[in-house]
Amino acid sequence: MSAREEILGRIRAALKDNPEAPQIPRGYRKSSGLDEEALIELLVDRLIDYKAQVCVVEAAQVSARIAELLASAHSYVVPTGLDGGWLAKLDDVRGAGRGRFDSDSAPLTVAELDGIDAVVTGSAVAVAVTGTIILDGSPNQGRRAISLVPDHHICVVKATDIVGILPEALRRIDGTRPLTMISGPSATSDIELERVEGVHGPRRLDVIIAR
């Protein structure tokens, strides 16, 4: 008998008392009921609590803010699907200068990514109450490696993509895409259960909230 047959057989035998699957009560909150201003304020508060840097700007100011944050970076990478307007203040992205594009057809190697200082991505949805940003690998976010290997992640969140609590966020997401939920920069609580920011993931997280 195959291991599969045998394990399923054991489980069926273990359930010979035919336990009934209970009705699932779902009395928990499905939404926070907060308006956009309150959501932005809460998200900012949570991100600061996680030691991320955060700013709220008008959509038209995003490119200036990105240029400012990248001022001291020797190199950066962006996914090909990133909103072109966000790069308007960066003159060198397509040239041989500081900026590199990453795409499915021309992916950078891990070693190349390791030599790059920063990454700029968009995001799929953000959860205000928990300070969580979800990336789903859409063209404006790219594949997972680019937002992981560089040490500085600049992430743009559109105000309309902010929701209150997790159930609202997951309803907007296709669960079968490669997903990363990010709540602040990389951290550990492994030493005396005290949170310390900065381990293997990007140690610097800048969030730009665009109205």
Partner: protein
């Protein structure tokens, strides 16, 4: 159930790191002698308790979430075969490969075989209880494959050639200075001026592992959740070592217990609200990764999943104990447990320590397993674990249930009456009649003679010796309560002494 050809008799128990090598009282006695351990543990568990309470107080629907989580898990157990098949179909149709492992040995052999196929002799690992349980690292080492733990606490334990003592923070028994000393001793290129500042230690771990992450071609992981309706797997972590392992290598091998399933994507919203506050006391953990089979151009292109039984079906067969399989390994129960706080995780022997370990280990190995049969007694039944558990596992009830199974299993074995039997018989004789008890209590003052000037009994004979192993008994009072009561409440003209009894045997 009758045994027929090719069918093992049920239940089939688990193997691997589920068995203690000595009984809990013995191990606990030794661990209690380690004062540094107690200080470290007390500090860490109290830090996390306070954080947990704070974060949970912000969630007005916490109890609703617990009720939902508990019901979902109960439904998963009831529908487990069907959900496993559904998961398998979805995971496979999206490019993943499923392997089934009856026990620890089979799972280890499957993983080693898969690694060998890639031609690699090194793998990076994400902290995983399942691979700890099957002793994967030790097995791979014997096969000439080095497995590098990448979670900070696992790294500390691995570098120190120690064993994990907590399911979330395996090095919880070490303080920062001890960790610095381990790094200085075991990390070849570490700065000799390393301080014990946690941020500095974290940076040292980053430097130590960076090259491994960037060059590893194979990773081994566990999984926190598996969604049956889509074939999706989830890993919840903090440091980014998980993301590294799940994203950069070409081959990903995940080992997961069969009980980890959730029926639908919607259920994830419940468990991702229950787990982070319960485990690290955070509103949300820094990183959670989800993957569904293979995604072209993003992440590992060869994805395996080993589904592990190893005693889970045996636990499932225990109607009263099966809810132990609802556990999402958050560790809240150990952080609030007064016994764990003092003995630490090593005393439990198994991979699963603390209150959950005290029920899960014997359920998976069978209560008859030597050494694990003392685990259900490693509790004061105070119920703190039940209150803390995000999926409402009634640990105290299951502990009592397992104690009774243990007593039953021993009763089956022995032939001659023990001291305990004799004692129980005597107690039943004395306690079933008030008069007999009253008479016996008159002897109490005599006991004072045995106590010496300190008015303490420090050593009892026979099986009662267990009671005085770690505590003294105060001298018996000069008179019994009954005698005192009778004196104090003497009604006028009525003699308070026990009246002569009509029962002949009571008259001496």
């Amino acid at each position: 159930m009758s045994t027929f050809l090719g069918m093992p008799s049920l239940p089939v128990y688990g193997t691997g790191n589920l068995h203690a090598s000595e009984s809990f009282p013995k191990a606990a006695h030794r661990e209690l002698g380690n004062a540094q351990l107690r200080v470290n543990l007390g500090h860490a568990t109290h830090t996390i308790r306070d954080k947990r309470i704070q974060v949970i107080s912000e969630l007005p629907d916490w109890e609703h979430l617990r009720d939902t989580g508990s019901a979902i898990k109960e439904a998963v157990m009831a529908r487990l075969p069907e959900l496993l098949e559904q998961f398998e179909e979805n995971f496979t149709s999206r490019g993943g490969v499923i392997h089934w492992a009856r026990d620890a040995g089979e799972a280890n052999a499957i993983v080693a075989g898969l690694i060998r196929e890639t031609g690699e002799t090194e793998v990076v690992k994400i902290k995983s209880m399942a691979t700890q349980e099957i002793g994967l690292n030790e097995y791979l080492e014997g096969q000439g494959i080095s497995a590098f733990e990448t979670d900070l606490a696992e790294l500390i334990v691995q570098l120190d050639h120690d064993k994990p003592s907590h399911i979330l923070v395996p090095a919880i028994h070490k303080n920062r200075t001890e960790i610095r000393d381990i790094f200085l001793r075991e990390m070849p290129s570490v700065d000799p001026k390393l301080t014990d500042d946690p941020a500095v230690l974290a940076a040292a771990a980053r430097a130590h592992l960076r090259r491994k992450f960037l060059t590893a071609r194979v990773a081994v992981s566990g999984a926190n959740f598996a969604l049956a309706d889509s074939g999706t797997l989830a890993v919840v972590e903090s440091e980014g070592n998980g993301r590294m392992c799940l994203t950069l290598p070409e081959t990903l091998i995940t080992v997961m217990g069969v009980e980890k399933l959730l029926p639908t994507w919607q259920d994830l919203e419940v468990f991702m609200q229950l787990l982070p506050p319960s485990s690290t006391g955070e509103r949300m953990n820094p990183y959670t990764s989800l993957w569904t089979g293979v995604t072209e151009g993003d992440g590992p292109q060869t994805v395996h999943l080993v589904l592990l039984d190893n005693g889970r079906s045996a636990a499932l067969a225990d109607e009263m104990g099966r809810s132990a399989l609802h556990c999402i390994r958050c560790s809240a129960c150990m952080n609030v447990c007064p016994v764990y706080e003092r003995t630490g995780g090593h005393a439990y022997g198994s991979t699963y320590p603390g209150p959950i370990g005290a029920i899960l280990s014997p359920l998976m190995t069978g209560i008859q397993a030597e050494e694990n049969n003392s685990l259900p007694y490693a509790s004061s039944l105070c119920g703190a674990c039940y209150d803390a558990c995000p999926v409402k596992i009634n640990i105290p009830d299951i502990l009592v249930h397992l104690r009774s199974l243990d007593v039953d299993s021993k009763r089956g074995k022995k032939k001659i009456p023990t001291q305990m039997d004799a004692g129980m018989k005597a107690a039943s004789w004395a306690l079933s009649s008030g008069k007999r008890l009253g008479l016996l209590e008159k002897g109490l003052p005599l006991g004072r003679l045995a106590t010496g000037p300190a008015k303490k009994i420090t050593k009892l004979p026979g099986i009662a010796a267990g009671w005085t192993q770690s505590r003294d008994i105060p001298a018996p009072p000069p008179q019994s309560f009954r005698t005192w009561w009778a004196k104090e409440h003497r009604r006028p003209k009525i003699d308070a002494a026990p009246a002569p009894s009509p029962e002949k045997e009571d008259q001496r």
